[in-house]
């Protein structure tokens, strides 16, 4: 095939598309929307995954021990877990025995009414041994709470919202206390979600409540390779006779996250694929109309020596041009849409990732989804054009010439 041959078929295709500019551009709009849907939903899915990944990766050294629930699903966020019985001092001691050198941090998750000035509401309160707080949380300002004082620490977002600083006073459970420190923003984690919480020392809490036991125990494993062994040791120690605790390490939790986010991604891309499918049906429709309208022309071309293959190529050029035009426009728009989708998803879920929205659009995954969307769009158009092109090629030249 020489250039002249390809040029004349391609330019015929272009001229025919231009002759029906409105029809062609409407068909293209379908592809544009489809490509945007695939690309931006893909980007959204991947930024969700990135968010999840970011949340969990920083606690990969964590093993979480919770009281066993017959109904427990193994998911630490399962709301039934909060109804759980407690882990006793003896359980904690046994865990400590099992894990050896690794740090064991028992904690209570409670809920208290917190009032700042005129506004108040119930807030998560984490009760931790004073000496363990620096191991779990970084501080943004002020000091860590001490066993000897009654000061508390507040999460960064809570502090932002109520304009709290070290030295501010808030009411926790009806008691006026001093904020001594602000915890650095950390996002959601599997062990502790401090951003909107109040963190108090075990001594402070024990002085005001007579509850026994802990909600959960966090084990920080020094050597990541030992996570499995530590888990096994805890299981061995506590679950020998009957199932007393559930032990999860962050890898398992990561898997739950990834399964969830993969499912979301597949679902989102599925929606995008449906819209591309609809778009390719509209291309199919436009191409069938085009073939029907040009029946006589096809018959003529065939009679003066155009092979079936050449007629087919000419119509495939048409759908290819529609596909390329639509997909490139769609790809460009989805760069913009994807950016805002990423930024808003990030902003919606956790404030701290919002700053990364700008880099997310440049991530290989995002570019990959856009390229995928564009290629998918082109492929869908060409596939939609196959049948009409084949139909055009199969027409008998005599019938086509007789067609009015």
């Amino acid at each position: 095939m020489t250039d002249g041959y390809r040029t004349i078929l391609a330019s015929l295709a272009v001229r025919n598309l231009r002759r029906h500019a409105v029809r062609s551009s409407l068909a293209t709009v379908g592809i544009v929307i489809g490509v945007i849907a695939v690309a931006s939903l893909g980007i959204m899915g991947s930024s969700l995954s990135a968010l999840f990944g970011g949340l969990v990766s920083d606690v990969s050294d964590t093993v979480l021990v919770t009281p066993h629930l017959a109904a427990s699903s193994g998911d630490p966020f399962d709301p039934r877990n909060t109804l759980a019985s407690r882990l006793s001092e003896r359980d904690v001691a046994e865990i400590e025995k099992a894990v050896g050198q690794n740090r064991v941090i028992p904690m209570i998750r409670a809920s208290e009414r917190v009032t700042v000035g005129d506004t108040g509401g119930y807030t998560q309160v984490y009760v931790l041994p004073a000496e363990d707080i620096p191991f779990l949380l970084e501080k943004e300002a002020g000091l860590y709470p001490q066993t000897t004082s009654s000061g508390v620490m507040v999460g960064a977002l809570l502090a932002d919202e109520f304009d709290l600083h070290p030295g501010s006073r808030i009411e926790v459970g009806g008691e006026n206390v001093r904020v001594v420190g602000i915890a650095a923003e950390r996002g959601m984690g599997i062990d502790i979600n401090p951003d909107y919480a109040v963190i108090v020392t075990e001594a402070w809490y024990a002085g005001r409540h007579d509850e026994q036991g802990y909600s959960q125990v966090v084990v920080k494993v020094g050597d990541l390779d030992e996570v499995g062994e530590v888990k096994a040791a805890i299981e061995q120690q506590l679950n020998r006779r009957e199932e007393e605790v559930d032990v999860l390490d962050s890898r398992e939790i990561l898997e739950i996250y990834y399964e969830t986010s993969d499912a979301i991604s597949v679902f989102l891309i599925g929606i995008g694929a449906v819209s591309l499918f609809v778009a390719s049906v509209s291309i199919l429709n436009v191409m069938i109309i085009s073939v029907t309208e040009r029946t006589r022309e096809i018959g003529l071309m065939r009679s003066i020596g155009a092979e079936k293959r050449e007629v087919m190529v000419m119509f495939l050029y048409e759908s290819l041009i529609l596909g390329i035009a639509g997909s490139v426009v769609g790809g460009l728009v989805s760069v913009v849409v994807g950016y805002y989708v990423t930024a808003s998803v990030a902003g919606f879920l956790t404030g701290f990732v919002a700053a990364d929205g700008g880099t997310a659009i440049l991530s290989p995954a995002a570019i990959g989804y856009i390229v995928f969307g564009v290629l998918f769009g082109i492929a869908a158009s060409v596939i939609a054009g196959l049948y009409p092109a084949w139909k055009a090629a199969q027409q008998s030249p005599i019938e086509a010439l007789r067609y009015e």
Partner: protein
């Protein structure tokens, strides 16, 4: 090749199967067309003229019998081989002109060359052939819809001739033209015949048929 008839029909029948029953369009037709002949095919409508022309033009294959074009039997040829035969050896001229509306006059003439040779010089050849049709040069870039009937038919003849076929098949070439234009077109065809082209022309106009050397009358699918 010169000994071989351009067209040889050997007991050719064509039957169309329609829902209302079989229609015999050609009934055991045997004929030959020698190189350089100018043949007029005449007959009432529905007599099988068009079927005869379609079979000569390798647009269709017979139900029974054998057809030889330049000595080659066509009924067992594949579609692609038939297509190449059409574009290299046969030129078509239609009553409706049948130019490709999206292409300019010159591009219409160039089209069969591009399909055949796929070479850069197709443009020069198209210009040369189109010039010999007495068409003003400024019309070369016009679309068919901007040309008169006579001008369109000149372009169509140029397109039929551009691949230098041995055989020209014309289906009522003057049917859509006034007498004066029609005469000019027929003069062009006679000129081509004088240069050795074999021409088979379907017409029902006795004046047009006078240009031909031999007349074939066909009634109800049989030669008379």
């Amino acid at each position: 090749m010169s000994d071989e008839p351009v067209i040889r029909f050997d007991d050719v029948s064509k039957v169309y199967s329609l829902p209302g029953g079989d229609v015999v369009a050609l009934d055991h037709v045997t004929l030959t067309v020698e190189p350089g002949e100018f043949v007029a095919v005449m007959g009432p409508s529905g007599s099988g003229k068009s079927t005869l022309l379609n079979l000569m033009g390798c647009l269709d294959v017979p139900t029974s019998g054998r057809i030889f074009i330049n000595g080659e039997e066509i009924s067992r040829m594949s579609d692609d081989v038939l297509t190449r035969l059409r574009r290299n050896h046969i030129g078509f001229i239609f009553q409706q002109f049948n130019l490709i509306p999206l292409l300019s006059a010159l591009e219409n003439v160039e089209f069969p060359v591009v399909l055949t040779e796929r070479r850069g010089e197709s443009r020069e050849r198209a210009i040369r052939v189109l010039r010999s049709m007495d068409l003003e040069e400024e019309l070369f870039s016009h679309k068919p819809s901007e040309l008169s009937g006579g001008q369109q038919q000149r372009v169509a003849i140029a397109r039929a001739l551009v691949n230098e076929p041995e055989l020209l098949l014309c289906d009522e070439p003057t049917g859509n033209l006034d007498t004066k234009t029609g005469t000019a077109i027929m003069d062009l065809l006679r000129l081509e015949n004088g240069e050795g082209k074999t021409i088979v022309m379907v017409t029902h106009d006795p004046k047009v048929a006078e240009y031909a050397h031999r007349h074939i009358r066909i009634v109800d699918g049989r030669l008379v």
